[in-house]
């Protein structure tokens, strides 16, 4: 029976077309005695999970400028209010400024109402602002917090649409993170379980080149990890010339800065 093969244009999701070829190439390369370069990862992965009494927000800490890492340990979890935090993916400036603007407005609003701000309010403010700018503000946000109605988690897209869900991911790594969530999420998890799930740890296999700092923030404490100190001798020293300068101390005075 003849089967009809139709060539399809490549569609989204994971493509495993080249895995066989890569395995062969890797085999050949190791026979020659060298390793293939490790996979390069760019962009952001942010995620959020609702657990029994709260929300866990997770984000990686790499900021890139094209193909160069601009900041190895930047904070992508922004403060909105004491009970609400927001992860930001997309244009770094946009996420930073947008969250700061809404944080400021929300504080004023909270003073005006005399109440702790609600996550839904922050969501409304963010979506209305982003919609007004028709997607030109490239901020994709994961907004999470706890208010009088319990824990809430929203994902907010640059054009201004929002989704209220028990678990969300955003950023270029969102597909990998969502795969993990879809596999392992359970409703009403304990805090530790949720933190373990949210830890971008699971994304690490996709990036073996650099160990990144990981921050998991659950509205109580920030736990930055990750160290980038290079060993002495990473860059080999070819020659060293020491010239002592003969200087004598002439005058020493101390001037205190006026910080009042």
């Amino acid at each position: 029976m003849a089967t009809l093969t139709v060539t399809r244009p490549p569609f989204g999701g994971f493509s495993f077309e080249n895995s066989k070829r890569n395995a062969v190439l890797e085999g050949n390369a190791s026979k020659m005695g060298f390793n293939l370069p490790p996979a390069r990862k760019t962009g952001t992965t942010i995620c959020g999970v609702v657990f029994k009494d709260g929300v866990v927000l997770g984000a990686d800490t790499r900021a890139t400028e094209g193909m160069v890492v601009a900041d190895k340990n930047c904070s992508k979890i922004h403060y909105i209010s004491p009970n609400i935090y927001c992860c930001g993916a997309g244009t770094a400036a946009d996420t930073e400024m947008t969250t700061q603007i809404i944080s400021s407005n929300l504080e004023l609003h909270s003073l005006s109402t005399g109440r702790l701000p609600r996550v839904a309010t922050a969501n409304r403010m963010l979506k209305q602002m982003l919609f007004r700018y028709q997607g030109y503000i490239g901020a994709a946000l994961v907004l999470g917090g706890v208010d009088c109605n319990g824990p809430h988690l929203y994902s907010i897209y640059p054009h201004g649409s929002t989704d209220k869900l028990p678990y969300v991911t955003m950023g270029s790594g969102s597909l990998a993170a969502m795969a993990v969530f879809e596999d392992r999420y359970k409703p009403d998890m304990e805090e530790e379980e949720a933190k373990q799930l949210g830890k971008v740890d699971y994304i690490r296999p996709h990036d073996e080149a650099n160990k990144k700092g990981v921050r998991a923030h659950e509205l109580e404490a920030v736990h930055p990890t990750g160290d980038y100190k290079y060993k002495r001798g990473t860059t080999s020293v070819l020659s060293k010339v020491v010239t002592t300068l003969d200087l004598e101390l002439v005058e020493e005075s101390v001037q205190t800065m006026d910080t009042s």
């Binding site: 409304r124 209305q128 897209y157 054009h159 649409s161 969102s174």
Partner: protein, 215 residues
Amino acid sequence: MPNLGQQISSKNDMIPDWTSQEVSTGVSTGAAGPWRTEAYIANRVTDKLTPIHDRIFCCRSGSAADTQAIADVVTYQLGFHSIELDEPPLVETAANLFRASCYRYREELTAGILVAGWDRRKGGQVYCVPIGGMLVRQPVSVGGSGSTYIYGFMDSNYKPGLTKEQCLELTAAALSLAMERDGSSGGVVRLATISEDGVERRVILGNQLPKFSTH
């Protein structure tokens, strides 16, 4: 960068007039990337049936951002209007508010909306406000990208005077068929029945959908 614009164009709705039954599937697809279209399901359980008032709902298709924004605006306007009148608003009023926004900003918006509800004057009603901002009342209406697959089904199977249960079955069947065929539709089926007594909402999960097989 994925998910620059979130689209819910996948959705298809249909609303037989008898008790203004509305159904919707819950899939959001995010299309992004200037160099190729990615299809990533941003939310597989989207609720596209949005309450506008106690007895008035709208079904949203098109751009998620646009329809959410319009629905929020109309909810506010209708709420204000209802308080001024001190009585429940008419479905026709709600539909006209949608039409006003969709027509005025027709160049900037991508929004196909079905407004349905119950009021004392005309009972159950369905109004269609497609892209461009037309307004027309219909006994049955379908919308969204998957709707093209079920025009024939609706035309042949809908008769005036169906009972509520028959309507619900018809709607669920139509949606299943559309979800089967349309790549952008899927997930869950959400049904809402609006009548004088109130609103009854139901969700049909993927494995509970009516099965039709041609292959």
